[in-house]
């Protein structure tokens, strides 16, 4: 359980970071798409959309880095996982196409705004559901023979993967609602508080169900979570999840504005940590480790040079852009 910090391990962390950055940044704007039908057409919807308008395009770039980084650093894993999850991944990219342009087109074409709003919501829900199913299907394991996927094209569809998919939809919706709590005022904020309360309870239930099911998906997971003395460390994860959940509910009841969003992010971080505990050092559970999947040393090194210089630069100008658009959003946009 003491990972040696060699290049493949380092790259596993970089990609985990890209995935988390993606969840942190795109999660709430997908969530706003999911919640769109709950907001009234007109100022409520416009205000919700304005709150993510300045940043969503940059947010989505992290998904490209996650996919591209996986191909570059762990080509074997990329080559096994993507065909195995063919349908959900293509559903995700197509949903993102619809959602992205709906964002663009709804303002340009008031006559068809209803349809573009529908496309925005459907795109957000489908993309999120597909991401969750992808994760669930990965966790439950993928059939591998030699260097390629050996299952059918419906293997990903199980009750467990659907459960993870639905959980992620609820989770992103909660991120969206708590983001709006932070970024809006008045009626939209009240509405968001009410939605966030319900979603928080639903998400905590989902995390419980997924966590309870995961150790029993395969023996190795059970071993990693409950072997002695490792359990002393791993037990901290559910404890922290409990603590985080409690604080989230309190913060929502007391109508704190910033904490609900941050605590929801905390829950996501803990879930990712839990995922890491279950899977490490495998990248395809039970089949391929990060060392087996890693690209040759020269590839990893070549990219690491660039990544270590460029990622901090990217983070700083992304931070700057969030700073420029800080504060509450009205439905009238920023001035």
């Amino acid at each position: 359980m003491t990972p040696v910090l060699d290049l493949p391990t380092l790259w596993a962390f970089v990609i985990a970071f890209a995935v988390f950055a993606y969840v942190v940044m795109d999660g709430f704007d997908l969530g706003i798409g999911i919640l769109f039908p709950f907001f009234a057409p007109g100022p409520e919807r416009d205000s919700a959309m304005n709150s993510v308008a300045p940043v969503w395009d940059g947010n989505e770039t992290w998904l490209v880095l996650g996919g591209g980084g996986l191909m570059a650093a762990f080509p074997l894993a990329y080559a096994i996982i993507l065909p195995a999850l063919y349908a959900p991944i293509l559903a995700m990219v197509l949903a993102l196409v619809f959602r992205g342009v709906a964002f663009e087109f709804r303002w340009r074409d008031p006559g068809h705004r209803r349809y573009w709003d529908f496309a925005f919501t459907t795109g957000s829900v489908v993309a999120t559901l597909a991401q969750g199913i992808t994760l669930g299907a990965l966790l439950q394991g993928i059939a591998v023979e030699g260097r390629s996927y050996a299952g059918g094209w419906w293997d990903w569809l199980t009750p467990f993967s659907l459960l993870v998919g639905v959980s992620l939809v609820i989770g992103y919706a909660l991120l969206g609602a708590t983001w709006l709590v932070m970024k809006t005022e008045g009626a939209v904020q009240d509405h968001s508080f009410r939605l966030a309360g319900k979603l928080a309870i639903a998400l905590i239930g989902c995390i419980g169900l997924v966590s309870a099911a995961t150790p029993f998906l395969n023996g190795a997971y059970y071993e990693r979570w409950f072997a002695w003395p490792q359990v002393l460390f791993t037990a901290q994860v559910p404890l922290l999840v409990g603590l985080c959940s409690g604080m989230l509910l309190v913060s929502l009841m007391r109508r704190w504005e910033y904490w609900p969003f941050l605590l929801t992010l905390g829950l996501f971080a803990l879930c990712l940590l839990g995922l890491g505990v279950s899977m490490f050092p495998h990248v395809v559970p039970n089949a391929v480790t990060i060392h087996e999947a890693a690209a040759p040393h020269s590839s990893l090194l070549f990219m690491l040079v660039g990544a270590s210089v460029l990622i901090p630069i990217i983070l700083s100008y992304t931070g700057y852009s969030y700073w420029v658009f800080r504060g509450k959003t009205g439905h009238e946009g920023y001035h």
């Binding site: 959309m49 308008a53 300045p54 940043v55 969503w56 395009d57 940059g58 770039t61 490209v64 880095l65 996919g67 591209g68 191909m71 570059a72 650093a73 080509p75 074997l76 990329y78 080559a79 096994i80 993507l82 065909p83 063919y86 349908a87 991944i89 293509l90 990219v93 197509l94 196409v97 619809f98 992205g100 342009v101 964002f103 663009e104 087109f105 303002w107 340009r108 074409d109 008031p110 260097r147 390629s148 996927y149 050996a150 094209w153 690209a295 040759p296 020269s298 590839s299 990219m303 660039g306 990544a307 460029l310 990622i311 100008y317 992304t318 852009s321 658009f325 009238e332 946009g333 001035h335």
Partner: protein, 474 residues
């Protein structure tokens, strides 16, 4: 076996379909980003309002084209894994880092500065805004750099070894990035993007000149576009010729297919202008040819011997009819562009640039020619390197994912439906913007009271507050 073949063919078709759609947008936005930088630079330098108005006019169109390029690009970045898993496993260690560098150096840069470019004019100083425009323009070129490096490496692979797992392992990154065909391909593609944009700008200018001859914005954009074409079109033909010689050196079978040389010509090869290639019989029927001209073009010598496809094992032939015809479409359009450029020079010399209506008609008709030429050129180079994904080393048939045909068929159908709805609507909106003439006090996609602020994408013209202009009084 039969199923597998079907899945392969469907996967190839899917790749060609999604990439053709995707490629249209960057080949327009690379040139347009540079054009916008030039317009803003001219405005800052001369202070002439017409440049600012043109900047705002094209900015709205750029925003739409850019957004569609982004969403169709996300599809591409996942398609390597879904449909071409074996390729990803084997070539990922080389192609992957090149594409990762594209994301790190170009995508984030563009996404980061697009916001200021689109909405920042009232918010930041003029110079900072110009810097943002330059950053976006540079970003599009950096993007082209990495993507063409990756593509060129697949065409002319060097700097690798094959490791125990059967992967291409990088040995010399310098050699990989600057592989033998890369400089030619980069220059040829970026110039194609500039020509494409110039033709669109020229076409739009011509359309408005035909309807409103005194429109100042239309005059300026038409003049700039024609100037660009008359300079770049001849350079592009030169670059294309050099690229062809490079291809002859590294991918001779592709040139044989382009030229329709099934048979070897030991004493000087003719240039086949037109004909109907017959892949089965290995001959070009009804050929109209110029004796010895092919040798003259490719070897600069009338009697130089040229090998034909008969020197290549038949299973390594590209599909000749497609390459033969797409090449002719590209070259034909290239010479049409040259003609347009020369005619515009003549009109300019005679002082009739804004009055000679046949020229405007021709420019209007040629408006979309760049897109057709770019796609034809891409077909030439990609079909011409078949049957390989990594030239000479990895066959296309051995690159595909282990997928079942129904999966690929279903996804292909979905792609076709989604793309036609989404990009159909987008193209419609772009054409609507282009159909309006450029005017004084042109509004950009600035945020106003009734519409959103955006970092990427568009804000609708109807909701832009007409009383508010960007950074300058009308």
């Amino acid at each position: 076996m039969f199923d597998q073949f079907d899945a392969l063919l469907l996967a190839r078709f899917q790749f060609a379909f999604t990439l053709s759609f995707h490629f249209i947008f960057p080949s327009f936005s690379i040139g347009l980003a540079s054009y916008l930088a030039v317009l803003e630079g001219l405005w800052l330098w001369t202070g002439r309002e017409v440049y600012l108005n043109l900047f705002k006019y094209w900015l709205k169109i750029f925003a739409l084209a850019f957004a569609m390029g982004v969403v169709s690009g996300i599809v591409m970045s996942y398609q390597f894994g879904t449909n071409w898993a074996v390729f990803s496993d084997k070539a990922g260690p080389i192609v992957g880092p090149l594409m990762a560098y594209e994301v790190l150096t170009a995508f984030f840069l563009e996404a980061g500065f697009l916001g200021i470019m689109l909405f920042g004019m009232g918010r930041v100083g003029r110079k900072l805004h110009f810097a943002a425009t330059l950053a976006v323009a540079v970003g599009t070129c950096i993007s082209a750099f990495w993507i063409l490096s990756a593509n060129s490496w697949m065409q002319t692979p060097v700097g690798y070894t094959i490791n125990a797992a059967g992967q291409f392992a990088p040995q010399d990154w310098w050699a990989i990035v600057f592989n033998p065909s890369f400089p030619y391909r980069l220059v040829h593609t970026v110039m194609a993007a500039y020509l494409t944009t110039a033709l669109v700008v020229g076409g739009v200018g011509a359309w408005h000149l035909l309807r409103e001859r005194a429109n100042k914005g239309a005059r300026v954009m038409f003049s700039m576009a024609m100037g660009m074409i008359s300079v770049v079109a001849p350079l592009q033909i030169l670059a294309g010729d050099m690229h062809g010689l490079n291809t002859l050196e590294h991918q001779p079978a592709k040139v044989m297919a382009m030229e329709g040389h099934f048979a070897s010509h030991p004493e000087g090869a003719p240039l086949i202008l037109f004909g109907i290639p017959d892949q089965e019989a290995g001959t070009v029927r009804y050929a109209i040819e110029i004796p010895k001209a092919s040798s003259l073009i490719l070897k600069h010598e009338l009697n130089a011997p040229l090998n034909g496809l008969d020197t290549v094992p038949r299973e390594n032939w590209p599909y000749v009819p497609v390459v033969f015809w797409s090449f002719r479409i590209m070259v034909g359009l290239g010479f049409a562009m040259l003609t347009l450029g020369v005619l515009s020079l003549w009109a300019r010399w005679r002082g009739k640039l804004y009055d000679w209506r046949p020229l405007h008609g021709l420019a209007l008709a040629m408006g979309p020619a760049g897109f057709v030429a770019v796609l034809a050129g891409w077909v030439t180079t990609e079909v011409g390197r078949q049957p390989f994904t990594v030239y000479g080393l990895l066959k296309t048939a051995a690159s595909a994912s282990p997928l079942e045909a129904p999966a690929v068929a279903a996804s292909l159908l979905t792609f076709i439906i989604v793309y036609f709805i989404v990009f159909g609507a987008g193209t419609g909106y772009i054409l609507k913007l282009m159909s309006k003439p450029p005017h004084r006090s042109e509004t950009g996609p600035e945020a106003g009271p009734d519409h959103p602020i955006r970092t990427a994408g568009i804000t609708p013209a109807p909701s832009v507050d007409p009383t508010r202009t960007l950074g300058v009084e009308a």
